[in-house]
Symmetry: C2
Subunit: 383 residues, 2 copies
């Protein structure tokens, strides 16, 4: 599976990327700048496709962490743990966008400026180069708000993040990120891209609003759930890929295909994540927490409810005790929930693959071609 689950795996990823880079830099194509380009393109796609941009992602993430901590110094004592908590959520989307930028041959900042330690992202990045940064910020915002709002009104169970950061700081980190996205977007000077990317933030907030304001009936509907997944996850990839294509000067057909790739890959990734979440719970032998209730509430459970309507009661009560959790998992095992989720993820991954395969080959730019193949590989891995 390509989604890394811990900082250790992330660090291992970067280590592997360095080894791969060292290997490929001895090929004839290595003279094309800082990019590592192999002799045989198909052999260049690493086992974890995101490794290709692991270095770029690490620099981006580090710089953003430093900016947040510098401007919100109260976060500093808990910063390391805070950023570890959200590492799983964060890597996938910005990495896909870094790959899309390479595949579209969008100029990126030099390694030198990316490694510059004392500048904020706003000063380095303008135009297209801001898109993976905005995705990273959106992911952190999503994580902070989801964790905060998930439990803020329950009387006996404060969310771990709230206990850890305090309500004030939790609220403030989210606001800080939205205000920085606004400043970065204002600096892009491309009104079409601004309009597209502003939708991403609008959708993130709409997604949270749906989660909070929907009726119990709506929350148990798979159609409603997929709409929420679009607002909270897939819109970010869809609209960001679209913006990258526009900035790269691609025609309308390619722009639509880029948007489709982002949208369907976003759905597929999230649905596979739902499956992994449930698998993790099965192995945790009924160790109840609000986090488990939240992870149970995904596509597999919603499909299972269609077969076992009595599940609604325990889902509505958020699996208050171990026996309810056991009942939920039992119904899930008997149902086709996991299988149907896998089929849906495969369908979406197929649509993503279809979209990316329409992209024209760029044989005169081997770096772009490798990135395109990695994007193909990402969709294939889900199928």
């Amino acid at each position: 599976m390509f989604a890394s689950d811990s900082l250790q795996s992330e660090m291992f990823g970067r280590h592997c990327a360095r080894i791969l880079k060292a290997r490929y830099c001895s090929t004839p194509w290595s003279s094309s700048g800082h990019c590592w380009v192999p002799r045989d393109i198909s052999a260049a796609v690493p086992l974890d496709p995101l490794l290709l941009v692991a270095d770029e992602y690490a620099v981006l993430a580090d710089r953003l962490q430093r900016t947040i901590v510098a401007e919100l110094p109260k976060l500093a004592p808990n910063a390391e743990l805070f950023f570890k908590m959200l590492v799983k959520e964060r890597r996938f989307q910005p990495s896909v966008l870094l790959l899309m930028e390479k595949a579209m041959d969008v100029p990126t900042p030099t390694q030198a400026s990316r490694h510059c330690a004392d500048v904020s992202p706003i000063r380095i990045f303008s135009g297209q180069q801001c898109i993976p940064e905005i995705a990273e910020m959106s992911n952190i915002y999503n994580f902070v708000r989801h964790n905060m709002l998930d439990d803020a009104d329950t009387r006996y169970q404060a969310s771990f993040l709230n206990l850890f950061l305090g309500t004030k700081l939790s609220v403030l980190v989210g606001d800080f990120l939205l205000s920085k996205i606004l400043v970065i977007l204002a600096s892009t000077k491309n009104s079409e891209v601004q309009s597209i990317l502003s939708k991403v933030v609008e959708h993130l907030v709409m997604g949270e609003a749906m989660e909070i304001t929907s009726s119990s009936e709506q929350l148990c509907s798979i159609a409603h759930y997929l709409e929420m997944v679009y607002y909270k996850k897939a819109s970010l990839l869809a609209n960001s890929c679209k913006a990258i294509a526009i900035l790269a000067g691609k025609d309308e057909e390619i722009t639509i295909m880029a948007s489709n790739y982002g949208r369907y890959l976003g759905y597929a990734y999230h649905l596979m994540d739902d499956i992994l979440d449930i698998a993790g719970i099965s192995a945790s032998s009924g160790n109840l927490s609000s986090d488990i209730a939240s992870r149970m509430f995904g596509a597999p459970m919603l499909f299972a409810i269609e077969e076992f309507p009595e599940l609604r009661r325990v889902v509505d009560c958020r699996f208050k005790n171990p026996s309810e959790l056991e009942f939920g998992l039992e119904c899930l095992r008997k149902s086709g929930g996991m299988q149907r989720t896998r089929e849906l993820a495969t369908k979406y991954a197929g649509l993503a693959l279809e979209a990316i395969e329409t992209f024209p080959r760029t044989n005169n730019n081997k770096d772009a071609e490798v990135s395109r193949q990695v994007l193909v590989e990402l969709a294939r891995k889900i199928i």
Copy 2:
């Protein structure tokens, strides 16, 4: 005093505006469109200068309320009370900006489109016409966050707003407003204005961050307090006036003066508000609440601390009991806190007056000239 304290006063203001409008519409200048223009300009400035734009403000506020409630239907049951709670905060800044637009002769939407009931602000307003809307949204954001963050971490005293809306909805209303500002800004298609207005939002969040993350030492410093007032209040008027001047095609000198007018009027208004807050508390005979502690914490008290350092202790503890409140008020009465605050407000109002008086007269546009005189009058009223 020109700041209205209740919805009743607001409604009374609109009623007066209608009477004044009816009176002036019989003059020879009334043929200049929907604007009411008097025979003698100096006689046109009403007792409450904001009455001149009371109708425009009412339409703007109503439409925004409807948009918020339509997109966050969970707010609907408490919407009327919610918007009443924040009416005092809201009217001043958008009204000043509506006046500045008129004084700068910026084209505004027709009354017809302003009265259109079923459209969102985003669809009606683009370019310069969005600035008072953004101010209105920023004010609501400010109100929601200030009330939420002020008490969110105290164990025994939840803020009234949190109890009333619930933490989730409180957080969400703020996020919703930030995301809508982002969408509106993206639609303006003027990168200079976007860059200026994005600072307003950045400053609002920085102001909240300062309030939460500052040390007790910093929170008792008048210089630090004035910096916070800039971020939370004066920046909105300063940067919005600047943006209006740029959109009106004014030269650099006028643009700087417009920004200065907004900045100093913002300071002066806030300091006078601090004085009124304390006056209100004096008359409330020690009826303690978190709101009172918050209102005690303004410029008069910070000046008083310079004379009575022992006040620090009760300010740090946020006036936990009536005797501490009485002690605080007693020190304040003995100190020059109120007088020094008044002097500072007068100084800032003088600077605002100086700035607006440099604006060239627009005798060929009587409507603009009346608005300019009303802006002069606003600064004079404080002095």
